[in-house]
């Protein structure tokens, strides 16, 4: 049971991480700095609960705010460059943050033992949850409540003018400028919001693992952060969630029984998923189809229609695969 609770915790934290990259991606920016913001949130909030004995929620919010402040500062110079240059700039920043924590010692004695971050050894004894008697289940619920709040907020933001503005900048910067939008303000705001969400994700991560070190926030994590929204699709926040479940739940944990073959399949299945669903795992069309199917399922008058719908859906999937195979055959000249 604890395994599944642990998996749900990982999925929750990674969903937040993916959503932090989602916000930035909406403006067309690819940021590899999200792991760095996560590290800042993790260290700041853990130091607040462990060393300053703060309560959890204010510590998480402060960690998020610290990450947001850094993201805002980084945003101004970084967003002057575009495309690949921005990727390199944010990558360099993320590594700089990681190396900062590699060299960061701040320990104080508490009850006979020294606690606090200790360079390469990391930050041990983040014991807020055990000390306050939280069970794994309660921690999992707390993480998912946070995910729920963030997803609701972003879902609503997507439908407000802000969502349209972010997407407009992502689609065509020249047209967005000419419609009167201040590109720098929009991009830096997105970066700041993304930094905040990544910081909160880091704080949650630090507290449920109880031990963090610089290696937890490396380039691989940053790559995952942008892979989720790209794989899931940018039409809505649920795409990111679906991608995290797909990667963390299915590819990493679900295929563990395959042993070493899993690593080989991992990349191949991501490529396959992007090939089958170029608009993202959950594109706008699927989403509206799914919503109307759900509505019909809940309506007793359409009970049998829903079953037909499900069969049609399977048929669609079959046709999709046949098309794909035909395409590949063509590619090999068969």
């Amino acid at each position: 049971m604890d395994f599944y609770l642990g998996l749900l915790q990982i999925i929750g934290v990674h969903t937040l991480l993916g959503l932090s990259a989602y916000v930035v991606l909406l403006t067309g920016q690819v940021s590899l700095a999200q792991a760095g913001f996560m590290a800042i949130g993790a260290y700041v909030s853990a130091m607040l609960t462990v060393l300053a004995k703060w309560a959890l929620v204010p510590a998480l919010l402060t960690g998020g705010a610290a990450a947001a402040a850094v993201a805002c500062l980084v945003g101004f110079p970084a967003l002057r460059v575009r495309g690949l240059m921005l990727v390199v700039a944010t990558l360099a920043f993320g590594e700089a943050v990681r190396l900062f924590f590699f060299n960061f010692d701040y320990q104080i004695a508490m009850g006979g033992i020294k606690v606090g971050p200790l360079g390469g050894e990391g930050f041990r004894q983040i014991r807020y949850f055990p000390e306050n008697g939280w069970t794994t289940f309660q921690v999992m619920v707390f993480i998912w409540l946070t995910v729920g709040v963030v997803m609701t907020a972003l879902w609503w933001m997507d439908r407000s003018r802000v969502g349209a503005v972010l997407r407009a900048v992502g689609e065509d910067e020249v047209a967005a400028q000419s419609a009167g939008l201040n590109l720098t303000a929009v991009k830096v705001s997105a970066m700041t919001l993304g930094g905040f969400i990544a910081g909160v994700a880091g704080g949650l991560y630090a507290h449920y693992t109880t031990h963090i070190e610089q290696g937890n926030f490396n380039v691989l994590v940053a790559t995952f952060a942008i892979a989720y929204p790209i794989l899931g699709g940018l039409s809505n926040v649920f795409g990111t969630l679906a991608a995290v479940v797909f990667i963390q739940g299915f590819l990493i944990e679900g295929l563990r029984f395959l042993g070493d073959w899993r690593n080989l399949l991992f990349g191949a299945l991501i490529v396959l998923a992007m090939n089958v669903r170029p608009g993202g795992l959950l594109d706008a069309q699927t989403m509206s189809k799914g919503l109307s199917a759900l509505r019909r399922l809940l309506d007793p008058a359409y009970g049998s229609a829903a079953a037909r719908q499900a069969i049609d859906g399977l048929k669609d999937a079959g046709a999709m695969f046949r098309r794909l195979i035909a395409k590949w055959k063509g590619a090999f000249g068969a």
Partner: protein
């Protein structure tokens, strides 16, 4: 209203715009014409702020705006459309209008957060009028990418008007249109002018330019070679030379 003073834009050794001086009066429709590559689009980009001039000044209502960023010029009342339509294809028709920042100072003074999330007070009416003007009210929630070519042109025009400009720059709005659509465009441009907006029209389609404009400036190789009423420009020897070449003699 708008004044260009010895405006220059050089790309390396190429003088795309060279010492151009123009005055556009308030409330008129000013046409800017010239053969391909004569610097018309560069001039529009300079006025809109997408390019910064090498030298010279751009003055709007007595204020030097030469070094302002594009969005600041929109805030001062300059809006534009593009030669190759640039809409936000994955946004709906309504969202395309909603994105446009409002110039009205009173509305810009409203608190930032509600303005960002819901738009200014009175947005609905203002955008409703722009939507009505574009004739796309029935396609309010369609994606802009799914509109037909003519509808996309109309939507882009409506988006430019949504920011309530004083000066509207139209970069070849008739490109790719048929005769009937051009007639509609003619009427639309006049309606915009009648609503108190000054129009700067860059266009290749001579019938439209001659019919709708009050005055015309002619560019060739980045320099202004003529300025005056449509009739004057049509009979100008230099203009004929630029368009038709010199007589073999």
């Amino acid at each position: 209203m708008l004044e260009l003073r010895q405006l220059c834009k050089h790309f390396g050794g190429v003088r795309a715009v060279d010492q151009v001086s123009l005055r556009v009066a308030k409330g008129e429709i000013f046409g800017l014409i010239g053969p391909n590559g004569s610097g018309k689009s560069t001039t529009v980009n300079l006025i809109a702020g997408l390019l910064l001039p090498t030298s010279g000044r751009i003055v709007l209502d007595g204020e030097d705006i030469s070094s302002l960023a594009t969005h600041q010029r929109v805030a001062r009342g300059i809006a534009r459309t593009f030669q190759n339509i640039r809409l936000f294809g994955q946004l709906t028709v309504w969202q395309n209008l909603w994105v446009a920042e409002n110039r009205d100072r009173q509305q810009r003074a409203q608190p930032v957060m509600p303005r960002w999330f819901w738009g200014c007070e009175g947005d609905r009416e203002r955008l409703g009028i722009a939507l009505e003007f574009s004739g796309l009210a029935h396609k309010r929630d369609d994606l802009a990418a799914n509109l037909s070519f003519g509808e996309q042109r109309r939507l882009e025009l409506a988006r430019a008007l949504a920011s309530q400009p004083k000066l509207l720059l139209l970069d070849e709005p008739a490109a790719g249109m048929n005769a009937q659509e051009i007639e509609e465009l003619d009427a639309r441009i006049r309606r915009i002018r009648d609503a108190g907006v000054t129009v700067l029209l860059i266009e290749h389609h001579m019938e439209l330019v001659m019919a709708v404009t009050d005055r015309i400036g002619v560019l060739n190789f980045g320099q202004k070679i003529a300025e005056g009423s449509p009739a004057m420009v049509q009979n100008d020897a230099k203009v004929r030379e630029a368009y038709l070449g010199t007589a073999a003699a």
